[in-house]
Symmetry: C2
Subunit: 408 residues, 2 copies
């Protein structure tokens, strides 16, 4: 078996890359060997920090014989073009979410990779988080009977973080459905087995100055009878991370007043400043913070989630699971690793080196997009939508990283 | 104005009365003057404790000229007969929830009271709780803009508390829809203004040994555009009171492991024992606990509730409200009184002595039942149900019992 690090080429050194960098830089199973980005300063920093080759075009990166996998982290509008080009050059692809906002584009990417016989993984998304995977394993094992009801809410400040204009335009993939429901739907599909049979939803666009969906609530049916209730509010008042031990989405301790600060920061700028401010936080930008050596305080997460099974409720925490069953309440903690999002590399390794199918493959992610689109359509038509592209989740990988501790 | 205590006659000294007794016994605005119950021991205790007259028939109680209001706390199947009889004798009526499980019976009670020109209040229910009323007042005032999304979940051990067979039979009013959704629906209707325009729901009956609905999740639309997401799981694993400062539904501090204990207690008995065990906890029963002089630790509540408005999220707590707005997080605490459920007497007094319309009148409660029935019907038909009997909430009473305290 090939135990060599996976040689990664990066297409796009923007926000998504910035968020993945602590993983790539610290996980020995991958090596950053090349990149392309139109911003010269980001490329120079990349070359300096990682000794990687900086290409002067997308195609040049795709053609680089030293690159095994390409991490496509360009804006989602360019994913199809870049995934297809990568496949054309025989490269495997890890593409950021959202895979696309069009079913046809997702299908084109799947077809291109099939034709080239290259692998395709979509991520990171919060369904990679280890507590989600552990819950999935326990549900699959059947020890708690069937999963019946999944209850999940998330109250964030998404709408008032610095945004580019396209992020506030639903037709361009803006708003919380494409960006945030993508996480929540992926998680509940994984927990419920994958095949959504109907979607009923309401969306809210309450702020006339930011005219895209900032909230939604939806009921999803699954083919095995499970039901998921997913609710999201990105308008920045209540912060549901207080229900997650004050650990934020990115696995770091969060201070009280974060949402208030997000809102007040925004009021002091204008639209142009806002987009600029956002860009400056990216890799190589003026406000970029190197956090490569800051270990996480817990797993990344996407807000409170409870899976009600016949014989237990599984509550996801930033450290693992809190299991409520006939024996009381038990913490099943799995937080140990020091590298955020190393679960992405687990899956990458499993596919690239162990020959497994990805959990987050092309068809899987197309099906998640389909549910997100159904949320928008259901809210518009005010009726239930029946998806047609749903697929089952692949079996979980075997893992050996849990330890129990009693809390009652 | 008449400032005399309201002279109350009690019809039925069972579970509902037992739960209301700490209120009646301690609130000086009411006086228990008479009762009827087929159980002699309960009647004797009543006469001894309150000096009230014990009647030997329902009709005799209804005819008692010393009785102003009759508290109808008999099984819900008898409510119509008893409310109509009370009205026939010119008595005002406070009737327990559920008012009925039949729209026709609700209408008959409304008609009887209208004809007799007597007042009708339905309660207690958890929409009487002061934090709910305070949230309602703030929403009505418009200072936070419109209410947009109401998110509420409740995870209880309802299904494994000792039950009579009829409580596990939906056709007889058993299960969580008639008993528990009645609370949740009443609360969200009050917060959203009252007029539900559509109901989409899924129910769960997961335990073959207790064949009634133990869980549900539903989306409700309102005429003003608000949406409510109501979710309930009564299967006794996770306890959402941990999200309510460990204050239980009845306003008392709750110990960890309560749900586990409920389940294990049940396993040790059989069906007959179970019904008997339940009866023994009632007023005058072998296991009755006199808690008349134990002050509550917080307001009664029905689990976590967040009202998302344009300009704030209002989170209900056992002490009042936690308000999240542009200025941060503020506790608006209203917990001060020492008598549980005194809000029922507030409303009773407002109607009986101040001549106001009740918030929880007949038409209001019929409309809540209609939504509960729609939850069952929607889950069965798997489509949205459009209610036709909905009414707006009456205006809140003026109250002067809040104090602010900052927490951020």
């Amino acid at each position: 078996m090939n135990h060599n690090p996976i040689r990664l080429g990066v297409l796009g050194l923007g926000r998504a890359f910035t968020l993945m960098l602590p993983t790539f830089a610290n996980d020995q199973r991958v090596k950053l060997v090349a990149a392309f980005d139109p911003h010269q300063t980001s490329c120079e920093l990349f070359a300096k920090e990682f000794g990687g080759v900086c290409h002067n075009s997308v195609e040049s990166l795709c053609a680089d014989p030293n690159v095994e996998w390409i991490y496509v982290a360009t804006p989602h509008q360019l994913h199809k073009e870049h995934v297809c080009l990568s496949a054309k050059y025989g490269k495997h692809v890890l593409v950021e979410k959202p895979m696309s906002i069009s079913i046809a584009d997702c299908q084109a990417m799947i077809d291109a990779c099939n034709e080239a016989q290259t692998s395709l993984i979509i991520g990171h998304s919060h369904s990679f988080n280890r507590p989600v995977l552990l819950a999935r394993q326990l549900i699959e094992s059947g020890i708690y009977g069937s999963a019946r009801l999944i209850t999940t809410v998330n109250f964030t400040d998404f709408m008032y973080r610095p945004r580019r204009p396209d992020e506030l335009d639903t037709s361009k993939g803006g708003g919380v459905i494409f960006s945030q429901a993508a996480h929540q739907v992926d998680i509940v599909r994984l927990l419920a087995g994958g095949k959504t049979t109907s979607v009923y939803a309401r969306t809210g666009a309450w702020d006339g100055s930011r005219k895209t969906e900032g909230a939604y609530t939806a009921l999803l049916d699954f083919d095995n009878g499970a039901v998921a209730n997913i609710t999201y509010n990105g308008y920045g008042f209540f912060d549901s991370d207080v229900l997650m031990n004050n650990i934020g989405e990115l696995g770091k301790i969060k201070s009280a007043g974060t949402h208030q600060k997000t809102r007040s920061n925004l009021l002091s700028g204008n639209e142009q400043h806002e987009a600029q401010k956002k860009a400056e936080r990216n890799y190589g930008g003026a406000a970029y913070k190197n956090v490569l050596h800051v270990p996480p305080d817990g797993f990344q997460h996407f807000g409170p989630i409870i899976v009600s099974c016949d014989l237990a409720d599984l509550r996801l925490t930033p450290y693992g699971l809190e299991i409520h069953d006939d024996n009381g309440t038990h913490q099943r903690e799995v937080f140990a690793h020091q590298i955020p999002r190393s679960e992405v590399i687990d899956e990458l390794w499993s596919v690239a080196r162990l020959g497994n199918h990805p959990l987050h493959g092309g068809k899987w992610s197309l099906a998640t997009l389909e549910v997100c689109l159904a949320i928008l359509e259901s809210a518009k038509k005010r009726s239930a939508i029946i998806p047609v592209h749903q697929v089952s989740a692949e079996s979980s990988y075997a893992t050996e990283w849990t330890r129990d501790s009693d809390s009652s």
